[in-house]
Symmetry: D2
Subunit: 388 residues, 4 copies
């Protein structure tokens, strides 16, 4: 058996709020005590974690004075230094406070939109001070239950203004952030704007500086909408927009579960790991999940270790998949090449079109060939189950 | 009571396959006889319909010889002329024949990809001959059940090649098509590529000539994934990409139902009609739905009339909404303006950022104000129910 | 226009926790202040509400001493008396405290199961003291995320033991409760036992005194699973098991929204009201919903009024439906009678079976008849929209 | 590595329609040729299959004359005898013919209800002649899209009449059938009556001879509604009602996929196999699935072998789970016993209630204990992945 113990070079990261989750939910009070940010960072360091991410208010409460803020940041930096853990991503909490109950950047109230932007600028300052290279926007409150408010088109326009503003601010301040938008279909809002990976890709194309913006896709969020997360990440990679990634798990069609990576959809988790590794994704592997509310602190660290072990197990399976001769033979037969036709359809020229139109295809014959996918899928499952 | 009888100026259109649907489903054989394209066109004309759309094989069977094809086209043109109905959209059937069982433009087999392109070119010729200004791509078979086939990234790349090819062909032939991509999350494939409106918007941004491509969003398709269709259409409008629209209805989280427009989600249908009318959407209102399998031909025409009547009823409700003083007062209070702060956050300048950061906000006070949305939503429902 | 102002004889009831909801969710802190139970009751009385329901801890905090408890109960009874509002249902909070994080009656820990039962007995005492005729069980924590805990069969058995115990206790104490089980598919647990109406009906059949147990179906809960709530309530009525009902609304396939009654699925809400009225459902119309988190207290009372107004509007529509001649003619044609065949198939006798087997049916002819449902559904929608 | 080759003693069975599926779907024509029933039976025999199931019309077309029917049955019996495969379940096709488009037993037309019953009696004769011990009812057309048809309560009543009728017929004819109801939430109908396992359990409790009726739960059907199939099967086992089972797989919240067993939800498939084996389920393991439409006949047999291999692999994992010392230690700690309290809460006596009410619980302490489920679930996943 291989060794599945994580090392910093594996580039695993956790949010402060993930292992720090206190187990509150809409129907129940907390089951765990809050953990100090410094304690979390030290613990993560011991587990071989590479980095940590945070919202402004994970470290500095919204009511803190500047002096308190500076003291907290100082202590936190010390803990980072001691543990060798770095801050790999920062973001703004634009969802917890009642002021954001009907949106932040997209709020129908101009004052609240301005306040959301102000809070973000300060949070970007904090992230920059901590050395975060990536800045995430998860617009959890940017949405609606009552579309009779007639705010949808305005909301998109205001969202864009905010993104254009922060991009300029980052450049002007020399922060060098790469911005990653994190979509989610619903919860806490009935419907959230930019609900899925594609929507964020489409939105980025309308920004002033699209090159500064990419995606932070989350496994659970696409899965809530019943979409295929591997397809979504592939589209982001294809567009050069995979800037960050949130790994966790979830059953489809229900509330946001934020389960341990690999806890539910193990085949999709495997295909995701393979996609990330095959495409040499250079970013961190960020776990945005939390231990079940049934667990005490010991369970929290089991949860964290489990996320990383499962990734490493699946990474090894991906290597095996590439070395499996029968699997590779099926794949080769599946991807039928035809250099002549391939050239014709690759790029339009009048000549290519004419030649293509004149070509005679054996439609019926092509339709009779089996794709061999049942066998391929079964072999993949058996490889995953460790019986080949 | 107003008159809800459709006129051509309402720009309602139907696909040949919609009223022509024969009532077959995965568990049952057809319950209705096929209708001749010419008969359909004449019937639609009588109902006040503006235009008709078609797949190549709705008019010309896949096995037809060129001579047969020409005869059919001639007869069809005659029917169009007689009825005053025009062809407003054309598209390719790349899903019914067994050859496309594992994809058309994205098939792992280069020969099939080439055949799909060839078939599309001929179908574009047909559409142009019939005067269709818009050409739709619904990639119903572009997807997968077995991602172990390791085709996802290739599939996206091949999809792009095909789109780039047809765009050039259209220009080179002088067809002047506007292309509209129609997303769908799943069915018939386990997962379809470009599953929702956003994904198509993101994909278009990677094409050679994005200006030629837009969206054909479908009510039922976004709804299958539990997404908010009004939000999706608003994003398409915001991006200048609403080229066509498919109106129908659907319950969330289940198979593709293609119900009569307004049959299920009447509030969302109302908000959609209002959005289209308010933004002066210039395109056709295309119904891509079919009568229930329980119906005979009489039921088919009831279905068609119902789609149009409901649109007209909702359009009138939209006018009422704008004239309702109490509703408008709530909306006005809801959209709090602040010209000072609004200016600061609208566009980045170093000065704006500094002024904004120095501003003192009454966070707690802003958080205590109610949005008034329960009352607004209730009034909207009562307006819809005809009791105000 | 009719008068849609509620009166006690309409039998509308609200839970203390519904209008008392403080607007906390998994991502945000409260947006509203807690309201005193006495204040709520007086307010409800002013609105024409018939009754109120409560969890033990809505009135008496879990840490209260017996003396505190008695003081609170006394004050509450005074408020009930003053307002003319009665307690129509009581239930136990077996979900908020950390002790119940992995279940109450079904917990894998025998001590916690016993504690849950103890808490329930005291809560039943409280409900009886307040005169509640119905006692509800919503097993919000009775479920699992980790079925590897191998608790499923045990959990069902323990659930049954608890139900059998409380039934005997109620009888022995002379409380005369009717027990109503409230199913929910998920949230807060990944999967909840007895997830839908049918599951509870099936479970009741295994109890010692099934006659004491019925259902408290909730609109939002069945809808979360994409099931048809009208069908579920009809099955409960058919089985003589509709003991209570929770009215609210919800979009399918997402977190528990508890929206204002009629806010989303207006056609289904109409069909539900019609079913309740047509079957002379004698119980209360209980709203288990809450104002959106965006609202202040004024919005809460708008929400409450909206729930009741919508019910009354739909009740009037139901009367209109029965008087609509065209609709009734379609219904009559739809329900084809055949007294001869009807008698044969109604009840088995050897003779009936033989005669039936010998009968010649015009299968093809029967299959060609249209059901007329598109027209019926369209007329129903137009009636709902107030244009007929 | 163990040997995962199926043997008849494993009791695997397939429907004629499963391996015989021709790959038609709502958007595409067949991709495979029909296979003769005799050929299927012989092939299944070679693969080590125990039995076969069938609808009347899988063997005998609906238009066949009695003479044709007898010839077909004779040939089929010969194939059964030759192959050693037996008929383990029979059922009626009450969904494919247009006559059933709006329901069979629940149709609003009395003539069609009678015809459905007649067809069922003949089909029961056929099943009995072939020696089938179990008779399944899947009411695929028993449902509605238009509840304004006001048929719901009648439908349930008519369904019950039909079930009562066939039960008597079976007894009177000495057929000795056990009847198994197979629920499904939707598709082909918008909503199907008796949508999930629980609904069928509740319905059975209202029948004249409930002891003759049980369940045929299907993995994909509960999963379509996002419900936990293991929980559903456990409830059926608890009620003594697991008469048959349909094994396959499915993604949640979409059309009926009927995927190869274990293709998607491998953890749930494992837990199901463990439940069946632990509770000594004596019935057959019936695969109601089909090869992907992308496959040719070779793919069909790979699909069939894959279903059985995966079951056997998971069965071996279940044994390993029971022998895994660390897993068993966690389970033991998880299921906290307390003989004193356990006795008190097990059964009501006045004394037990009094003692229980007087007991002092350490609520806070009990709430602080972690359940250890993250570790247990991770170990289970690692066992499944073959790395422990």
């Amino acid at each position: 058996m291989a060794n599945y113990t994580p090392k910093p070079s594996d580039k695993f990261t956790f949010g402060l709020w993930t292992v720090g989750n206190i187990g509150r939910d809409p129907f129940g009070s907390p089951t765990r005590k809050p953990l100090d940010p410094e304690y979390i960072v030290r613990k993560l360091g011991e587990l071989g974690v590479y980095g940590v991410s945070l919202h402004d208010n994970d470290l500095v409460p919204i009511e803190a004075t500047p002096a308190e803020r500076n003291r907290m940041v100082k202590r936190f930096k010390k803990a980072l230094e001691d543990s060798g853990v770095r801050v790999t991503m920062a973001t703004t909490n634009l969802f917890a406070d009642p002021v954001f109950k009907d949106g932040a950047f997209t709020n129908a109230n101009a004052k609240i939109r301005a306040y959301a932007l102000q809070k973000t600028l300060y949070s970007m300052d904090l992230g920059a001070e901590l050395g975060a290279p990536t800045y995430v926007f998860w617009g959890g409150r940017e949405g609606a239950e009552v579309d009779a408010g007639m705010n949808t088109l305005d909301a998109i326009a205001h969202y864009r203004e905010a993104m254009n503003f922060v991009a300029e601010y980052s450049q002007d301040q020399g922060y060098g952030y790469r911005f990653a938008i994190e979509p989610k279909p619903n919860e806490p809002r009935g419907d959230i704007y930019l609900p899925v990976v594609g929507a964020a890709l489409g939105f980025i194309a309308t920004l002033d500086k699209p090159e500064l913006f990419g995606l932070n896709p989350e496994f659970a969020h696409e899965t809530m909408a019943g979409l295929n997360f591997v397809h979504a990440v592939a589209q982001a990679i294809d567009a050069g927009k995979l800037f960050h990634i949130d790994l966790n798990d979830q059953k489809m069609g229900r509330f946001d579960q934020d389960l341990r990576f690999g806890a539910e959809n193990i085949k999709e988790a495997f295909l995701l790991v393979k996609l990330l590794e095959d495409s040499n994704y250079p970013g961190v592997r960020h776990f945005d999940a939390h231990a079940l509310r049934t667990e005490d602190e010991a369970g929290v660290w089991e949860f964290a270790k489990g996320c990383m072990r499962t990734y490493l197990i699946l990474k090894e399976k991906a290597t095996r998949f590439d070395k499996d001769k029968e699997i590779q033979a099926i794949l080769k037969a599946y991807k039928v090449q035809d250099s002549g036709l391939g050239k014709l359809s690759k790029k339009y020229t009048r000549k290519n079109a004419e030649t293509l139109k004149a070509h005679t295809f054996d439609r019926v014959g092509l339709g009779e060939q089996g794709a061999g996918l049942e066998r391929l899928d079964q072999l993949t499952m058996e490889l995953l189950l460790g019986v080949r």
